[in-house]
Symmetry: D2
Subunit: 356 residues, 4 copies
């Protein structure tokens, strides 16, 4: 409720700083009786962890998770599940030159003016490292949703800077460093990223997140709509500047007779709605798009000010993702899993088990 | 908490159906001691109400608000403020032909499968009519924010279908039926809408919402970020399919050296961030864009099914907005006001009064 | 969340002042599909309303409820149910002499220092009149619980001042003005109250509240235990100064071998627990006791201060309950119904339907 | 929200089981800029920890706390503070004989029927060991309240079984194993406890909790009253069966002219209210009494059933507190500190800083 909890029923409370002793979360509200072991979570953390290719930050973190509570003899008990990840490779000295200046486009500035104090080591609380506990919590949600309703949640990168990535197959997502659903374009992405890295600059990206087999009826209008809660978590993901569902911004130029998805006795004939009508899931796939901005920690010199509001020139060295959009892919999946799980529990609380 | 409350500290709980006896809301958490009378609220309701031009629904509702509580001798007391709007012009017979069928693109379908019951009269709970209480609550937030910090919240239509509306001046917004900031384009908009209305179809739109003079420091990361909460309310607004902040989807193709807003001792030099960094306001204007889909209630024949899942052809008669984007303008302002107010109160709860 | 909402899932948001235009509430989270009409609610309001005997306040209020939303063709739809009760008999002049002084034992004082403004008419927001919307909401909970699980919630007065009222039968509760389960003692209560009223003083009381047929498994430890949430609502009821469950304060002098309720294959052999162990219902009856203080609005002269902190002598005329404990009986039932209903919905959200 | 979080603004989320790897909590909402180190918390944990005298459980736990986040250079940053306590002395074999039977008066029974699974090792989640994280969180609240408003929160044992403990001085509380404010009675308490321990039985107790220097104005009626929230946390403390404020159950027999605390320009003349009127603090000391039941884990043989509902005789060996009331004293202080702190932050969110 003080800002670091997500979900009303399946509730994730996050803690930690990039270079503090540890990061982690408490997952409260997981139904009892589900098989869960450390590996279920580790497998998702490994997809997000740094250092997996030359295209992401070279910080070396194994991101090994410890389950501290909520499990008895391999099963969830209904009690809160606390997850702990120790920080290992925290080189604070890398940040000394920026500890009193503000990086353009970085949360340095706003944290300082909000709290009057900030932890400059690795971005402190504002670091994308804090998405790791979200991924850990999302792994639990993903597993439960899969068992409850065969719900499958996946994401991929659909654009890197100006390079559009046409969808080919989900099968390719885990076979390249970019979560690209298209193997033919991978070498182009690699070349682009290698050049970018040498230039010391960074780039934005677009991600598509999708949930299949979602039952009809999830969402609590008029304010806690499913799409509203999806927008909340997605815009809350580091570096996201835009969220759309279904036809998204293309809806602006559509006629009603184009946009409204016709229905036959065999189901919907199109999916402009992105699987949500009136804030409630329709049973179609839920399709979300995210715009990810380029990271603000770059070697290119930028004009800025320091904490005394004096003009300075800022360059960021250290180990940063030249495209935060890459590692955002598994995080976006986790976010969607958490929201959908929260809504499954909320729905069955008010209305009982889902019928369709 | 059951879905019809918005805001944690400045909390709006909404009730009502399109053709029920009344709609309204309870605003809980308004600080005591502010002058407030009915007219402060009525003036905003009048901007949203139906029947103000030939381009919006011709339903005749005065949307007259009654303040039931929370005011003593013209001032807020800190107690909840209940607001009541009676429904007057409720022609239920208009809806008889669709009461057992689902309009493509409409919440009919999802409400039915979620609750097992739905109020078909005018869309029941899913009607855009339920934005009126939100506007009433937003009027209170707007007034308080204006007094607290001179915060000014405004919105305009920036695109109608394929017609882009270049920004000229805020002064024009209230002088035309489209909340267009550009008078030269109004006749083109009128012609387009007149043709559209005759065709029985509907169209999407794009809206820009902006808050000026917002202090630095609002937002509660890492989950209840200001931008996340803005995305939540905006995506929760009827017919919205996309929300972006600052550079939004343009961030995808930006380099870090382009996107990150440089700072000088006199302030920021650009506003790609849209006034939010790391989920916290920066003191710059907060700039939000919305994609609004075309309304689903159209006279054009569409294929669909009824509650027995039998194929039917659906046409919607009755009185509908051919472009719901028009009346969404004042609603979007209200939503932004409610979120910002909630965050001012949350911030001063945890950190005390805002300094900058 | 701002203080005027009760329940997380079955959520009641209350508004109004004693002498404002109206009082009421929004009930959000009621499951869809339950038959509900105005009379279901009115019957409970009538049990609490003023003026039903000479032993309670003589204010004349019919407390007629209007259902504004959430019902379609006689059934709940899952949408919020707004309930409105107009204030009729509001004689503000009765309060003029106390509008700038503080009644000893009254919320006048604390409201003034909290908000810097208070509505002195009839106690404003702090009036016991605001329990009427709670009773209306409780009527909905009672009906649903009765249908869901045959849960029955009742209360009675067990002590009036020094007069203990031995329990005889639930059948008598509605047959006298005191909610006494014992008809033999009623004339003694009447005489006592007649004398008290003449003296201009007031008296405390003790109430027992009981829920039968509650399934095992309700409550969300470790903080949102069922007993904790019961204590919350009961201590939040006007004039309550003590709440106990099961053996209550007698537990202090019990040995473990006395207190712990033995179990046989046929069930528990005693009920010192009051139906709650570890914060979770056991399937036994839930038994709660309340200590109600005497009302602070009395004709007896008391020393106090005014808003300028000057010494004054205060006497309260107007129409007050000489024993607020009497009308607290139906309110306490409603409070218990709301808490139990909230926990049924929370339980089935996390764990699915209750088995035992 | 799923039951393991306490407080809306100063929010404590608790995790762990008695014999799992660790217990702990996340404290979200602590204001930034306060000096805080491990020792501030350890000192309070040491008051509650087991094994400090022969009158409490002989389990050996150092209860050493590790601060995982939320501190930078010795000061709070406004980020969540995660606290970790490893379990060391977990002898699971002690519990093997009760792992399939229910101890009369114990949460074994209700946990089993709620979740369909329970961790029998040391009571699992229902163990009083889980009050340690609450104490750790309370230590932070205590420190902040002390600095913010010189608020002082203390508690003592006022009755052990039938032995009343007349209050003499706060100075003695820390000088004996019983938190007795009266040294003369300590040897009597020791003799009683030694006899009790030998008998294998347990006993109840009464505790008084008090907060001094609380400003006027805390509490959010009409539901989130200060006294209601105090009752919630206190009844939520393991083994509590009754909570009263001020005159408490004595209010039942008081006349209004006795109960209502008269006021002079120098302040209140008595404190029957216990420092709360209308749910809002008055500026007087807040006085709360708790009834603590005897622990259910005793060596005395009791009749019960097992998980198959077969009759069994249960005896509990292992290491238990013969009077859980003793170690409940520091826990009750922590609970009160958390509630008051939450209300300070809530108040200043809505109304700004407290004036009186």
């Amino acid at each position: 409720m003080a800002g670091n909890s997500l979900g009303k029923f399946f509730c994730v409370t996050n803690f930690g700083e990039s270079h503090g002793p540890a990061i982690g979360c408490i997952v409260d509200g997981c139904p009892p009786g589900m098989d869960l072991d450390k590996n279920d979570i580790q497998i998702e953390l490994n997809r997000r962890k740094p250092g997996t290719s030359r295209h992401v930050t070279q910080r070396q973190e194994k991101d090994e998770v410890e389950i501290l509570s909520g499990i008895y003899e391999g099963k969830t008990t209904g009690a809160p599940i606390a997850l702990l990840i120790r920080n290992i490779d925290a080189r604070s000295h890398d940040y000394s030159n920026i500890s009193e200046s503000f990086r353009p486009g970085h949360a340095d500035y706003s944290y300082w003016y909000k709290y009057g104090i900030r932890d400059p080591r690795g971005g402190g609380r504002s670091s994308a490292r804090l998405t790791a506990p979200t991924v850990a919590a999302g792994a639990i949600a993903k597993k439960w949703l899969s068992q409850y309703s065969n719900i499958k949640i996946r994401a991929y990168m659909s654009q890197l800077g100006n390079i559009a990535i046409p969808f080919v197959s989900w099968d390719f997502i885990e076979e390249n460093a970019f979560f690209s659903p298209n193997m033919l374009i991978v070498s182009q992405l690699e070349t682009y990223m290698d050049d970018l890295r040498r230039s010391g600059d960074s780039i934005g990206a677009r991600i598509e997140v999708q949930a299949d087999n979602v039952p009809c009826g999830l969402g609590e209008p008029i304010y806690d709509r499913l799409d509203a809660d999806i927008a909340h978590v997605m815009m809350g993901l580091n570096a996201v500047k835009g969220v759309s569902i279904g036809a998204g911004f293309d809806s602006i130029t559509q006629l009603g007779s184009e946009h409204g998805d016709e229905i036959s006795p065999n189901g919907f004939r199109s999916n402009n709605s992105g699987g949500v009508l009136g804030g409630i899931s329709t049973g179609q796939s839920i399709c979300v798009s995210l715009a990810i901005k380029p990271t603000s920690s770059i070697r290119v010199e930028r004009n800025s000010v320091n904490q005394k509001n004096e003009a300075v020139v800022v360059q960021t060295f250290g180990r940063h993702d030249p495209c935060v959009g890459i590692r955002a892919v598994p995080v976006a999946e986790s976010m969607l899993a958490i929201v959908i799980m929260d809504h499954v529990l909320r729905h069955r609380g008010q209305c009982g088990e889902i019928n369709k």
